[in-house]
């Protein structure tokens, strides 16, 4: 790989990282707070490439053959094109129902926890919005008193379930998409024509936990009163 190609490869990668960092695209791969670091990395890549190009251009004008092709880079550097190519061609979206379907049981809950109150209804509404993980934790705690006479609103994407019902689900990441963990709550009802990965709002009431069809671990359940498709949020992951 000669010098000009090296500059071009770094510029290509830097441009794609910059594009991912400036737009909301990075939210499909890393935590939102990581954006400044991506911007710095992109700036360094682009600066190194541009300074190199500038120097090569000056060197060519000065008819200095050394500057144009000093020494090569190893073959492995070609792989740096791969992330740019994958971003350009596949433009992979945030993880969804495919990942949830391959998931493991939720972390085992410490037994005998008394459910904390879920707080008042949303302003002007007759339901309480809960994060999926918060609902899951309380619904499996063995003490359902917090849900008595209450309607709950959950949001997430649709994942298919074997053995009846479907899941409203979200993906939690702690660092990047490589450590994704699915959070699921069974919606005890007919999925109708909702496609997997469609974002929905489910309003319903607590229902006793069910067993996972193949693994047998307990799963939190909501009995739906209304299910409504919603727009996919910019940041689909929960931290």
């Amino acid at each position: 790989m000669d010098r000009m190609t090296q500059h071009a490869v770094l510029l290509l990668l830097g441009a794609y990282v910059l594009q991912v960092a400036i737009t909301d695209a990075h939210l499909a791969y890393v935590q939102g707070g990581f954006r400044p670091f991506l911007l710095i990395a992109a700036a360094v890549l682009i600066a190194v490439a541009l300074l190199g190009l500038l120097r090569a251009w000056r060197g060519r004008r000065a008819a200095d053959p050394e500057a144009a092709h000093a020494h090569g880079a190893p073959r492995v550097a070609w792989l740096l094109v791969a992330p740019a190519a994958v971003l350009a061609l596949v433009a992979p979206p945030a993880l969804g129902s495919f990942t949830v379907a391959r998931q493991t049981p939720p972390p085992e809950l410490p037994g005998g926890v008394t459910a904390t109150p879920i707080g008042p209804d949303d302003p002007g509404q007759e339901y309480r919005t809960l994060p999926l993980a918060g609902y899951q934790l309380r619904a499996l705690s063995g003490d359902s008193s917090a849900f008595e006479g209450r309607r709950i609103r959950l949001t997430g994407f649709v994942s298919p379930r074997e053995g009846g019902g479907w899941y409203v689900s979200r993906i939690a990441i702690s660092c990047c998409a490589a450590d994704a963990i699915g959070i699921t709550v069974v919606v005890d009802g007919d999925r109708g024509d909702l496609a997997p990965d469609q974002w929905v709002e489910v309003i319903g009431t607590w229902s006793p936990p069910m067993s996972h069809p193949s693994g047998g671990w307990p799963e939190a359940v909501i009995a739906p009163e209304s299910v409504r498709p919603i727009d996919r949020p910019a940041d689909t992951y929960v931290g």
């Binding site: 791969y29 020494h71 094109v81 791969a82 596949v90 992979p92 085992e108």
Partner: protein, 335 residues
């Protein structure tokens, strides 16, 4: 490129390198053209859920590691360009046995993850630092720097002994590996690539820029190898087998060690992953925290690139064994 074999004109030495130069440029043009065509054709395989999930994880691993790699490369270029070799022979004890603990504890000052420490350790060896000390630094820096320790404390609220255990076990791994290298290491296993060699009359700034470019292309390429491996294992190996073994103390340790190797999570975030593995014993989770920054697929690829495959093939397995033993031992005492 012309295929007519023209006899080279006498004195026309510039032809050969120029032609070689245009060849890699041609390859890049072909790659870019293929990308443009595929972009418009959009084969159906690109929208397969498995391909998309693989791509997301691959891009995520690369993006997550890139800023740390850039930091490490900048530091390593600064060491090569601005720090004279005499500096290290002054601050480090002359005897390798004594240099190992000094370098190991010096790892606490590099606030990065494992992607940053590999290029820095490579430039230390190039600068004449004894390999045993550079390897101790390589292993300790990603595990015991303040950012990682704070992240661990946040991930395990109310369990400060986990932070202490991680620190102690990781330092232990760095020291043992450094001393093992002093006793058994052979110089010909190491193949430290020549870094950028400053051309005569080159300015300091251009020398720095060239060193950064060289390391970025080199280490960056190996980072992508690691990203490809991690994404493939992540998508292909079902995580379900993890949970079948959480109850067995021996198996759970081995499985979390294996998970740390294949998951290749950044050391600044692995504490959160460990904290989410609630079904496992604290010792098994400590194993995950100690093995991850010392051995994982991304790191093995980077080490093979910086120190040569012969080195990585010996260093990584031994480090894995030492890390598991150190974590189990420290866990038995502290957790």
């Amino acid at each position: 490129m012309s295929s007519t074999p023209l006899p080279p004109a006498p004195g026309d030495v510039a032809v050969e390198p120029r032609r070689r130069g245009s060849r890699s440029g041609d390859v890049l043009m072909v790659v870019l053209a293929a990308m443009a065509v595929l972009h418009f054709v959009r084969p159906a395989v690109f929208s397969e859920p498995a391909v998309q999930a693989w791509s997301t994880v691959f891009v995520a691993v690369c993006l997550q590691a890139l800023p740390f790699l850039v930091l490490g490369v900048l530091l390593s270029a600064a060491i090569s360009t601005f720090v004279p070799a005499s500096f290290f022979s002054r601050v480090l004890p002359r005897s390798p046995v004594a240099a190992v603990p000094v370098a190991g504890l010096a790892g606490a000052v590099l606030p990065g993850c494992e992607c940053a420490s590999v290029p820095v350790a490579g430039s230390l060896v190039r600068r004449g630092v004894t390999p045993a000390a550079a390897l101790a630094f390589l292993l300790s820096a990603p595990a015991i720097n303040p950012v990682v320790l704070v992240a661990t404390a946040v991930a395990f609220p109310g369990e400060p002994q986990m932070v202490l255990a991680r620190f102690v076990a990781s330092v232990l791994v760095a020291l043992v590996m450094g001393w093992l290298w002093v006793s058994f290491g052979r110089g010909d296993w190491l193949r430290v690539r020549e870094g950028h060699v400053a051309a005569p009359g080159e300015s300091r700034l251009e020398s720095f820029r060239s060193a950064v470019q060289h390391d970025l292309l080199h280490a960056g390429g190996f980072l992508v190898v690691g990203g490809l491996t991690a994404a493939t294992l992540n998508t292909v190996v079902p995580r379900a087998w993890l949970d079948a073994v959480a109850d067995s103390p021996v198996l759970s340790v081995l499985v979390l060690a294996a998970l740390a190797v294949v998951l290749a999570v950044c050391s600044e975030a692995d504490a959160f992953v460990a904290a989410s593995l609630v079904g496992f014993s604290p010792t098994a989770r400590l194993v995950f925290l100690v093995v991850g920054p010392a051995v994982d697929v991304k790191l093995i690829a980077l080490q093979a690139g910086t120190f040569g495959p012969r080195f990585a093939a010996r260093f990584a397995p031994v480090t894995l064994v030492v890390a598991v033993l150190a974590a189990v031992g420290v866990g038995a005492v502290l957790l």
